[in-house]
């Protein structure tokens, strides 16, 4: 197609030629876009839900602004900005924290149900580009909604009572939260394959979105209403916001990589990216923890919080990493070494989980050991919290190993599926947490009896973290008891490792 006017052409022809040139430019620009973005935006803008949501959003904001105008018209000085900002934000929140994430879930779930997903995969786009396109298209829709509410939010600033930093912090956190919810919803769409499973996931997602919607609004309410009445952006708040943002971003990334992995074909090295993301997250978070700990003058609370929450997070992610299927597709087997922990297979996933859990506990214990001065109190604190971290990590490894052993050791594959292994883990930890205290009460002992609860992941961790000044170490539990837990864990982990190795060998041999 010519983009230049021919010498013979008159002035009247110059307009269509310019239009054609512009059209060509658009087309070239469009070619660079992810095809999914083009399709989803095109499709999304035709849906009734978009126009209804958009119309209602505009209408609600318009009504609110008229109310605000009437409310503040006679007043010589108004400070109602924060109230109206919050009201406009609620309108935007319904769409950003509800409609957008749920639509993202529905779009991917339908793609899988209708089997158009496999058609997309066969085009060579790959799950990463497809998901990226899907998420981007919903963010484009979110931007369209935000553009409708933007002028009203600005209007609320001119009503006084709210400052620019508050608006920026709320919008930044709201935006990142919306992206995180969209990624979590997309990940939820990859969780179940059967009809019942899909219904359960859908139900759970609606519940989670509803709960988090109110939580987010409460948080925004506290920030907007509290500012100027005692609430300040102090160091603790900013630190909390920083940690929140970090978690949303890195967990969002992890969820995205997990979704890509779940939608990849068996022949692909589908675990490489999520496992790498997990390791990078752990390393960066630990670096960040060290930085914060250093910034806060080696405060021991940093190590405590990081030790407890980090271990819990790793147990949660490990549950998915170690319950992968046995073995890997033929093309991937050639370059696999014992240390190729990013390659598919439950065996390598389990080993990576154990390494990360123990590494994290060790790192936090070292951090704790370096906090404060070496007084008797410090030694007691270090030994009890250090033991608590280590115990928590050991319990994690122990129960993950037991779930694997119960699920994958029997000859029948009835409980060998990833979902079954995860459910077994939940059942085992629930039983092990609830049963020993009941038995202790039945035997007339204290419910938190140290010996009876030695393998209790909940009470055991609490026991290891308790002071007891009657004991020589000043702690309730002794290092010898921790050693016992470590030995049992080592045994269980070794058995689980061997079972997984044998299953992988069989899977590869068949």
């Amino acid at each position: 197609m010519s983009t230049q006017a021919s010498p013979a052409s008159g002035a009247s022809e110059s307009v269509p030629v310019t239009a054609a040139g512009a059209s060509d430019r658009w087309e070239r620009w469009g070619d660079r876009l992810n095809p999914l973005v083009v399709k989803e935006v095109r499709q999304g803008l035709r849906t009734r839900i978009f126009w209804v949501s958009f119309g209602l959003l505009l209408f609600a904001c318009l009504v609110l602004s008229l109310v605000a105008y009437a409310d503040t018209q006679g007043a010589s000085y108004s400070r109602e900005g924060r109230t109206y900002f919050f009201s406009f934000f609620v309108c935007l929140g319904v769409v950003h924290f509800g409609v957008i994430p749920f639509n993202a879930y529905r779009s991917l779930a339908r793609e899988r149900e209708d089997e158009t997903w496999v058609l997309l995969l066969l085009t060579g786009l790959g799950p990463r580009r497809i998901l990226r396109g899907k998420v981007a298209s919903f963010l484009v829709q979110a931007a369209l909604y935000a553009s409708a509410v933007g002028p009203f939010l600005l209007f609320s600033y001119f009503l006084n009572g709210i400052d620019l930093p508050t608006i920026l912090v709320v919008l930044l956190l709201g935006g990142v939260w919306m992206v995180f919810l969209t990624l979590a919803s997309v990940c939820a769409a990859t969780l179940a394959d059967g009809r019942m499973g899909r219904a359960a996931v859908r139900f759970a997602l609606v519940g989670v979105l509803a709960v988090t919607f109110f939580q987010a609004l409460t948080f925004v309410f506290i920030i907007t209403q509290g500012r100027g009445t005692g609430f300040t952006f102090d160091q603790t708040f900013l630190l909390g916001v920083g940690v929140g943002l970090w978690l949303m971003l890195t967990d969002g990334w992890l969820l995205f990589e997990a979704s890509v992995a779940r939608l990849s074909l068996m022949t692909e090295n589908y675990t490489r990216h999520p496992r790498r993301a997990l390791v990078v997250q752990v390393l960066l978070t630990f670096t960040g923890t060290v930085a914060v700990w250093w910034y806060l003058d080696f405060h021991k609370d940093v190590a405590d919080v990081a030790g407890i929450f980090g271990t819990m997070h790793l147990i949660g992610t490990g549950l998915f990493t170690m319950s992968d299927v046995d073995g890997q597709a033929r093309p991937l087997r050639a370059g696999t070494r014992p240390w190729s922990l990013f390659k598919p297979g439950a065996l390598r996933g389990f080993r990576l989980t154990v390494l990360l859990l123990l590494g994290w506990a060790l790192g936090c214990s070292v951090l704790l050991a370096m906090s404060g001065e070496a007084t008797l109190d410090w030694v007691r604190n270090w030994s009890r919290m250090g033991m608590a971290f280590t115990a928590m990590a050991l319990y994690g490894v122990l129960f993950l190993s037991l779930a694997l052993l119960l699920g994958r050791m029997p000859a029948s594959d009835r409980f060998a599926s990833p979902v079954s292994v995860r459910l077994l883990f939940v059942a085992l930890t629930t039983l092990a947490s609830g049963l020993p205290p009941l038995v202790a009460v039945f035997l007339g002992l204290e419910s938190g009896d140290p010996l009876l609860n030695l393998l209790n992941p909940l009470v055991g961790t609490v026991n290891f973290g308790r002071y007891d000044y009657d004991e020589p170490y000043g702690t309730r539990m002794t290092p010898e008891l921790l050693l016992c837990v470590a030995l049992v864990t080592l045994l269980a982990a070794f058995a689980a490792d061997r079972v997984l190795a044998e299953r992988e060998r069989r899977a590869h041999a068949s």
Partner: protein, 327 residues
């Protein structure tokens, strides 16, 4: 060298063996029918060929290259149409094809030309602005076929393409597939509609419980299954008249008295006769037995106006070869 070679394909799902040692090949320009009862392993095999599943054992070679080891290299050569249409809501026919053309990496003018040529080939031109959800089943099937052709694949894998189509749409689909084969594309069709397959396919593969029971050219399969069964069918039609009912009863009695007649069923003015011959009997013996029957009917003064052996079709071959078991 064959375009596609499947060797000893096996797929296990836990204890269930969905596909068991399936071996066949297909030349460029050939149309292969994939026949089997529900749960026979047809869709599993097609999914493996489409690189959507991995075999437990065996090898699939496409143009001499392993499709199992290098699925990424095989995908541009494959066009897969699953048993569901796979269209989107709120998208027009052109937008749908344009989206997939983009996904296949076609750009600018090349993409537009490709979409146009596919729409022309499938006869979708007049419907380009219509939403895919507003189309009839036949037209949606064409859209799905058009999507499969966008990247000009060498091998087409069609899972139940004629399912749910009306007779006209089926005939049109058949013509489209024939035209594709004439262009040198190899086509594999799995279907339950065996009469359709017989008319489209050059060769067939019959599987049951994941195992390959028979394969070869359609004529060879018919002949082989006919030889194996030792059962021949004849259709006798009497001239319609005032005494049609009476004549029919007489003819039935007469036929049942003849040797080799296993049973006779009346279908209006026609009688369907099943002959059972001795083991090892061939077409000559079958013809001789038929001649005896005709002579007997004529001797009785019955007004025979048609006396035709019923030709065996793919359905007969399928029923003879399979036993209705499910894996």
């Amino acid at each position: 060298m064959s375009l596609l070679e499947v060797k000893g394909l096996r797929r296990d799902y836990g204890a269930l063996r969905a596909v068991d040692d399936v071996t066949f090949s297909l030349e460029a320009g050939g149309i292969l029918g994939f026949i089997g009862p529900n749960g026979a392993g047809k869709s599993t095999t097609l999914r493996i060929l489409a690189t959507l599943d991995v075999p437990t054992a065996g090898e699939v070679l496409l143009e001499g290259r392993s499709l199992v080891d290098a699925p990424d290299k095989a995908r541009p050569l494959l066009g897969y149409m699953p048993d569901r249409y796979g269209t989107y809501d709120d998208v027009t026919v052109r937008e749908f094809l344009d989206f997939f053309a983009r996904a296949y990496g076609l750009k600018g003018v090349q993409r537009r030309q490709r979409v146009d040529s596919v729409m022309e080939f499938t006869g979708l031109g007049p419907l380009s602005g219509k939403l895919t959800t507003e189309l009839s089943k036949g037209m949606r099937q064409r859209v799905a076929l058009g999507r499969t052709l966008l990247h000009d694949p060498r091998l087409l894998l069609l899972d139940e393409p004629a399912d749910g189509l009306d007779p006209r749409a089926r005939i049109e689909l058949r013509e489209l597939l024939r035209a594709l084969a004439d262009q040198g594309k190899a086509v594999i069709i799995s279907s339950h509609i065996l009469t359709e397959l017989a008319e489209i396919c050059d060769s067939c593969v019959i599987i049951e419980q994941g195992r390959l029971l028979a394969q070869g050219r359609v004529e060879d399969l018919l002949r082989a299954s006919g030889d194996a069964s030792q059962v021949t069918e004849l259709v006798v039609r009497l001239a319609a008249g005032a005494e049609g009912e009476l004549m029919g009863a007489r003819a039935e009695r007469t036929l049942l008295e003849q040797p080799h007649v296993k049973d006779v069923t009346r279908e209006g003015s026609a009688l369907r006769v099943r002959l059972e011959l001795e083991p090892g009997a061939g077409p000559m013996e079958a013809e001789a037995a038929a001649a005896v029957l005709l002579a007997a009917l004529v001797a009785q003064g019955l007004p025979v106006c048609a006396f035709t052996p019923r030709e065996r079709n793919l359905e007969d071959a399928f029923m003879t070869v399979t036993k209705g078991r499910v894996a």
